[in-house]
């Protein structure tokens, strides 16, 4: 299973984004500043935005899903339970898992942004996809929910998962790091070597590396283990 970017360029007025490279199976982290083009890249891979030049070729990918940054963009059901069913899911286990059973009959858009994000992510992560694109999955989540999401994502096996985020505190275990800088997607490589080349690395990760400690990965438990190591 592979995803190839062949000299892709997307233009929006004066702004542009160039991408070249191949995404193989595993967990990929695409980082970059706000407005750098992460969402555009995600939409291009999902086929919802066409590149101006170049092509994105998928190899062996039969199912894909995108989770957009704003959960309300996904709402098509009139109630919370109906929203679960619109994803082809049984509402009971989904709502029990995120403690929203008592709100099953309310309109999804009346939920708080955090609740709606929880509902949306529960629906997206309930199925297996060959290619899963998660655009800012941590936004609107509290610290506990972020950690829970990291655990779920770290346990994910098979397929290509691409995480587009500018998150600085909480990550799942990743296999590969990419970075968008000055309108271009850069391949920082496999973990853990990628960490030394990661320009947008969070301050804590940079400090751990500069103190001479070796990081295996960037999940909360990996960071904790590295910090506590003597």
């Amino acid at each position: 299973m592979k995803l190839h970017f062949n000299a892709v360029r997307a233009n929006r007025g004066d702004w542009s984004l160039a991408a070249q490279g191949t995404f193989c199976e595993g967990m990929h982290l695409v980082s970059g500043d706000v407005g750098s083009g992460k969402s555009t890249l995600a939409l291009m891979i999902a086929g919802l935005f066409s590149p101006t030049v170049g092509s994105i070729v998928s190899d062996g990918i039969s199912s894909k899903m995108i989770s957009m940054q704003f959960p309300e963009y996904h709402v098509t059901g009139l109630t919370v339970a109906e929203e679960c069913r619109s994803w082809g899911l049984d509402s009971d286990p989904i709502l029990s898992g995120i403690n929203l059973n008592h709100k099953r009959d309310v309109a999804p858009l009346t939920l708080s942004r955090g609740e709606l994000k929880r509902l949306h992510l529960a629906c997206v992560l309930a199925k297996k996809y060959d290619l899963l694109l998660l655009d800012e999955p941590f936004s609107s989540l509290d610290a506990r929910e972020k950690e829970r999401l990291c655990e779920i994502l770290s346990q994910r096996t098979g397929g290509i998962t691409i995480l587009f985020t500018h998150e600085q505190t909480c990550f799942p275990q990743v296999d590969h790091i990419w970075e968008i800088q000055q309108g271009e997607l850069f391949d920082r490589g496999e973990m853990p070597e990628a960490l030394t080349r990661w320009m947008h690395a969070p301050t804590l990760i940079k400090k751990i590396i500069s103190s001479g400690k070796i990081l295996k990965n960037i999940s909360p438990s990996d960071l904790q283990e590295a910090v506590c190591r003597t």
């Binding site: 999902a46 919802l48 309300e72 963009y73 996904h74 098509t76 009139l78 082809g88 309109a107």
Partner: protein, 217 residues
């Protein structure tokens, strides 16, 4: 046409001219060809094509029941073209200026503000509809008659939530009624020419020019 007062006056006159007679509709079409940027202005082609389809269907029905469907179609197309021109030339905030100019800082300000909010809401609804369509595509649902009803309900519910948010924000910021604004309008020389041309089209249709010429002879 930069001046909203002239634009609305011109659009009202041309709409009446096109509606009341077939030669008027032809005159309006000629005016549209001469004084607008024509199809470059169309912002939302789907909305226009949908309206044209509805008008065409009504024209077919009129012809089928013995009426002059063709005349109706031509007149309505002329009106739609004027509507497209009016909408595409619209600038943010100008209805607020128009409202205050017409009815003053209290009633006029509120009418203008409601008009501005209405236009803003219409644009948000169009964007929301695109998003719902995209969400359905992502979920593998088909876009059709059965999905239109829930989509419409979501749109209305979203619009009401947004309106409530705006109302609360205004209340928090201390809005009570009316406002203070010094209305400003700008216009070019070409605005005057196109305005006079619209009046000329109106004269040609409503005043029996041919009879006047016969009498003169």
């Amino acid at each position: 046409m930069q001046d909203v007062r002239m634009r609305i006056g011109t659009a009202t006159l041309l709409t009446l001219v096109a509606f009341f007679s077939l030669p008027g509709a032809v005159g309006v079409f000629v005016w549209w060809l001469l004084f607008t940027t024509r199809f470059k202005e169309i912002k939302r082609i789907r909305m226009v094509s949908g309206t044209l389809l509805l008008v065409a269907a009504a024209a077919v029905m009129i012809s089928w029941t013995g009426g002059d469907g063709l005349s109706y179609l031509v007149r309505m197309i002329a009106i739609i073209l004027i509507g497209i021109w009016l909408y595409s030339e619209q600038e943010k905030g100008e209805f607020l200026h128009l409202g205050v100019w017409l009815f003053g800082n209290r009633t006029g300000f509120e009418i203008g503000m409601i008009a501005e909010m209405g236009i803003q809401m219409a644009e948000s609804l169009a964007a929301d509809l695109d998003r719902i369509h995209m969400a359905m595509t992502i979920k593998g649902q088909k876009w059709g008659v059965t999905t239109l009803v829930p989509a419409g309900l979501i749109l209305v519910s979203d619009a009401l939530i947004r309106a409530q948010g705006t109302a609360e924000l205004m209340a928090v910021r201390g809005f009570y009624n009316g406002g203070s604004l010094c209305p400003k309008f700008s216009h070019k020389r070409s605005d005057l020419i196109s305005g006079v041309a619209a009046i000329a089209v109106g004269f040609l249709v409503f005043i029996p020019v041919s009879e006047f010429l016969i009498l003169y002879r």
